[in-house]
Symmetry: C2
Subunit: 157 residues, 2 copies
DNA sequence: TTGCTTGCAAAGGATTTGCAACATG
DNA sequence: CATGTTGCAAATCCTTTGCAAGCAA
């Protein structure tokens, strides 16, 4: 797909939208950031590098980045938008730890073919899907077991 | 599981929460309503039967109904809560038409075992999952094809 | 100049909460 | 009487929009 910055500028040009320093700033922060960042986290990151930037600009730019095909919006169901890169990885689903928030990306070849078949059974043309698995990761499970063993009665968490 | 009204009242009692006319009203409307209704739709239904009821009461009561194990909250990603009964049907996933909103319930035995395996591969203990397939249903596809054939250039929709 | 971009504040939409009035055991 | 329940309005949270000021071609 090529250099994301190029792809982004190309997308803007093709749509008759101007490039700008701020837009490039947001794109760079997004590209450098870890995956699945929420809008709020992303905004904090952006402000660190570019203190004057407004929240609206980050929202607007993330939309452009998505339209350019560089990002996907994801929704863990916690009431905030999250983003991940789309240009440097194949499609995948997510397995999220409900205790620590850790997120594992799942290769979903098998799931996808099953989904396609299910849709087909009902005559639907599949356009997209959302799948999120929630559970407890090994680390958190160990901790829980540990604290359960040592915790006094009535003690919280 | 028994009569939902009984289950509900039992749940309230066991939690030291009072029953009330309004709560029963909401429960009945929910039980009679079609599945996957949004909060707004449910509220309209409730108001039809019980004009003075406040939105907050419906929110509060639906939470109780979920806690009683009678309803599941579902999230089609359109920014509103939806509900479906949980007591009279096995777990399933959803296939939603992006054009008309029709929703088909999918028996997901195969999907579930795959999901369990994926979680297991990463050492996770699975607690729950969300899976939504989006597509175009047969009816809408036919209509689209029809209108595409007969539509004049530049005409919308 | 002309039009796009930006930050800020205000608006929006969904949901929750505070509270005084109210009901009910 | 004592508590729990309710409607209303206000408050939250996340996101989008309006707008005047700033910039760039």
């Amino acid at each position: 797909m090529g250099d994301p910055v190029e792809v982004f500028n190309g997308h803007l040009r093709s749509r008759g939208i101007r490039g700008s320093k701020r837009r490039e700033e947001v794109l760079k922060v997004f590209l450098d950031a870890s995956s699945h960042l929420s809008m709020a986290e992303l905004f904090l990151d952006v402000r660190r590098r570019c203190p004057g930037m407004g929240l609206a600009t980050v929202y607007r730019t993330m939309r452009l980045i998505c339209e350019a095909g560089l990002a996907d919006e994801i929704d863990f169901g916690d009431g905030t938008k999250r983003f991940e890169r789309k240009d440097n990885q194949p499609h995948h689903d997510h397995l999220i730890c409900e205790s620590c928030g850790r997120c594992v990306e799942l290769d979903d070849g098998e799931i996808e073919s099953l989904q396609a078949r299910l849709a087909d059974d009902h005559g639907f043309t599949l356009t997209r899907h959302k799948m999120y698995l929630f559970g407890i990761c090994p680390d958190c499970r160990r901790q829980e077991e540990g604290s359960r063993r040592t915790r006094k009665v009535g003690e919280n968490r």
